[in-house]
Subunit: 225 residues, 4 copies
């Protein structure tokens, strides 16, 4: 089974129980079996729209920090995919609830939401391209992993649209591209044995922190149910 | 009574109940009467050390975004005051508990801590000098207001050192300087009637959000008690 | 005749002779009549490829500094237009000379090139969205103005490809969109009478400085002839 | 003889003739023997004041990108040293010519000046702490090397104040501290054999580019004579 490259599985393993707490969170299993209260889902969806705004900003920041034109183009394509394609799910589902985009954009952010997106942005500003990528990775690839796992359930159920979006071919392709981007970025900056270098521990720390903040995002959604 | 300039009282008023919830938080009253559990205080102190690290980074960012040499110097002096003077309290009190600076620096940040400091840094990166100052203001001037209010109690009690630091002349002087810096920055960028201009509402929003994140920091401390 | 909105003509007028020195530069008239030495054009083209890399980075920075989702999308679309469409001219013409993209990307930047692109990026980092836009404007809209003026000559001549690119409908449409983006950004931040506000002079200064750096870019091209 | 640490001599050697062209520039030898035209010196001095403003901003940016509290403090101290101590020379000499600080601050920057300072700032924004340090190094340590070399001439001559500033104990101490900061930053991020790692070439490139931009700054001064 594809693991989105060779670096991600190492980071994922280093996060240990924190990774499992994120991808196997109660919010996710309730999404999968349709038992998630609608209020929890809608609170999550509104927060996630604002999350995607700041996540797009973080990918745009990556464009400014790339070392090659190929890194730039992948990051720029991801910005487009986020603010055009992925957000389309949020806009459509929220429109069904009578919420237009301007209202969504003005959503008061939950502290758990602020914590993750601003942590990612600061990872980029304080470090280099790789410090930014490692903080972006848990969200992009975690959603990919969840989407792929839940995929069989996607044809029915209250939240099948969500599952289809992240389990679908387009999103999985984005994950492959991001996994390859990470592998290339690691090779360019850390060489062939990144795990032996002095930055590896710090990168794993960033990955774990970002993973925990992702789990906090599910907590926030569940608490609104 | 001095209000730290003319802009701060307006922002403070605009935050309404959120401001009161921050400066009159149970954590503060328990600090004042000495009833705050030691564990809560120490958790707060360790988190606050890391907070000051990132807060210093935000003031250093302000140096890079200033429009005048005077704005630069005040911001640079504040960085020095934070990482030399204000931290001294944390280092001394933590040393009494057997914690050295390296251990403190490695403190795993609570999400409530991450949320506030990274919000402030992002306010600076996404906006201008003023967007940064308005996000810094609730912490700097709120602590000044609390310190001044608690001052009479400062000569005894378990947390008198803390109260003396923020109620003391040095810190109050910093607050006056920051209040004047804000007034000057507002005049230079928004003119004589800032409340009539299109940015005023957005600045008040930032102030309210930062104020709420400050209250969340007290919540975090209290929860560790 | 369309002026790319209402703000640009004011900035343009404020730059006075510096604007004329840029858009009526000898490099431009020699491009128009085909008398520009090939060596000068090729030096310019290689430098301009690297310029576009950093200019794309500056537009990506704008994505991170936008206040509305509409501002974000226009900025993100401009990044795409630059690194996909506009660069296509450079890649095609340079390929005819035997230069591939990797070689182009590794071009040692001329100081005149560094000066302009890094000035724009720093305008963004030190200020807000508007400080960035005003530094981007002379290049985007100046090329539009030049392209439109030279258009009748575009069907023949050594440099007709260049002229067709900037005089063509796609690029002119980008200029309209950027002009509208600027007008909206000014209204949102400076209100209805931006010329009366305290930031107007500083914005005009930025525009003039960026305009002079653009003229310096032509000087650099011409000197390589 | 002290070489300001172990990394700097390697970077210096990698820049080869570009380094010599900078530290043995005609501007420098004319400073040393007093033959530099006064107009050239004053033009340089005014530009250098603005240079120091942006150089201080770059050191403040370093505070925001440090990995340890010790790195933060050294960077913060350097900001103070620049905008308090080193600038004092410029302010004093310019005051003798009837120029006050506000006038100096408003100096229209020469493109050669813009190119170097904004290149350094962008090195910081696009990369990590080390990318920023390597771009700062040629100026800080080059001036140290020049000051130390010219020192014997410092007791007389038209430009003895300048020579005393950079050849003096205070400035030389700053250079030692910066050299040690660089060595530590390299060890923390690149390990014990930095020259074998994938980032070394890129760092040497940055050093060479910054060195050439420094030489361009002398050219600018000389051209004003």
């Amino acid at each position: 089974m594809n693991q989105y490259g060779t670096t991600f599985p190492l980071w994922r393993a280093s996060a240990g129980v924190h990774w499992d707490a994120f991808v196997e969170h109660a919010f996710v299993s309730q999404l999968a079996d349709g038992s998630l209260p609608r209020a929890a889902f809608l609170h999550y969806l509104r927060q996630d729209y604002v999350f995607l705004i700041h996540f797009s900003r973080a990918w745009a920041l990556a464009v400014t920090k790339a070392d090659t034109v190929s890194e730039m183009r992948i990051a720029a394509n991801t910005v487009q995919a986020l603010i055009c394609d992925e957000m389309e799910l949020h806009l459509r589902l929220c429109a069904e609830e009578g919420l237009d985009e301007e209202t969504l954009f003005a959503t008061e952010e939950d502290p758990a939401n602020i914590a993750y997106t601003r942590y990612v942005l600061d990872a980029g500003h304080s470090g280099d391209f790789l410090d930014l990528l490692v903080a972006l990775a848990p969200c992009v690839l975690g959603y990919g992993e969840i989407g792929r796992r839940l995929d069989p359930a996607a044809t029915h159920g209250a939240y099948s649209d969500w599952i289809k979006t992240y389990g679908g071919a387009d999103y999985q392709e984005t994950c492959e591209a991001v996994g390859a981007l990470i592998d290339g970025a690691v090779a360019r900056r850390l060489g062939d044995n990144p795990q032996d270098g002095p930055r590896w521990t710090a990168l794993c720390n960033r990955f774990r922190i970002a993973t925990r903040l992702e789990a906090g995002f599910w907590d926030m959604g569940l608490a609104a149910g």
